[in-house]
Symmetry: C2
Amino acid sequence: MPKISDARKAERREQILAGAARCFAEHGYEGATVAKLEREIGLSRGAIFNYFASKEDLFLELAARDTKRVSEVFLDRGLEGVLHEILEFDPSWLSVYLELVRRARTDPAFRTRLESRETEFVLANRARVEEAQRAGEIRDDLDPKSLGIFVNLVLHGLMVQRATGEDPPPVGLVLGLLEDAIGGARRRTPSRTPA
Amino acid sequence: MPKISDARKAERREQILAGAARCFAEHGYEGATVAKLEREIGLSRGAIFNYFASKEDLFLELAARDTKRVSEVFLDRGLEGVLHEILEFDPSWLSVYLELVRRARTDPAFRTRLESRETEFVLANRARVEEAQRAGEIRDDLDPKSLGIFVNLVLHGLMVQRATGEDPPPVGLVLGLLEDAIGGARRRTPSRTPA
């Protein structure tokens, strides 16, 4: 059997991930059987599981990429960028996350793996929040962790809303209210300032 | 066969709903097979489906009761009450909702049934919000619908957080930030007021 080059391996890895993402989005995580994964990816189970040890590994790699991308958007474009990013996610893919919430609660090994992939980004995001506090962009009477809890509630709510297929709320509305909650000295959206 | 009294019928209906709730919470909606429902409820499928036409009807009745209860809490004790109420929900039951998000998006008939049970409460809640605006308790530069969108993002985020089994955030933190976002003239949590 001819040896596959590294470039070819990387390409195949991407093919597998892209097909798995489509398959999970279409059928849900539980619904994405090995047979369906083979069909969507266009490779045999032997080839697929040569690259990823399990279906769980496929999901975790896709989730890690999402986390990385959203964190980069946050560092680069702030909360507004993140809100736009979430609105651009495929609702079918977002519902895969919601489907796995039960598993994150009941399967500690899965939970640990999921969280371990987030740690570095949580730290980077928190450093950015501290920087914004020092710059007076956001309030500093609450610690970054507390502010993060609240912002994450809104972001997760947005995920649910999108996954349910509802019309997206205006980014400006959500951003304005979020800024009124966590913003610095500058207060309230302009509409409230007396003329 | 002896005729069952109305009181006995009502009692049996409650028995069925309570068993179905336990079964959905433990196995998930998809995982709650008819055989498992029979075991948990303690009645045959014939008896169960004599009271509720389908598994979907069982879920919708349970969901309608949640909606009614949360709406009553809101009218009676405001947002703080609702936050406490959500934190008291069984995380396993909350994840049933998240599991059905995909279905709400892809099955229009299910979605319509789900939404039709919420309409009266949405209207009652909105009237309460208008009242709070007139009383100056919350900001009035945004309409009740917009404020509701934001509050619902936070509440749905809280559902996800609880269903994932994470430690609950302090109610005071979430309430304080929510009030800073939607509050009236009174601004910011006390910690920010200079001594």
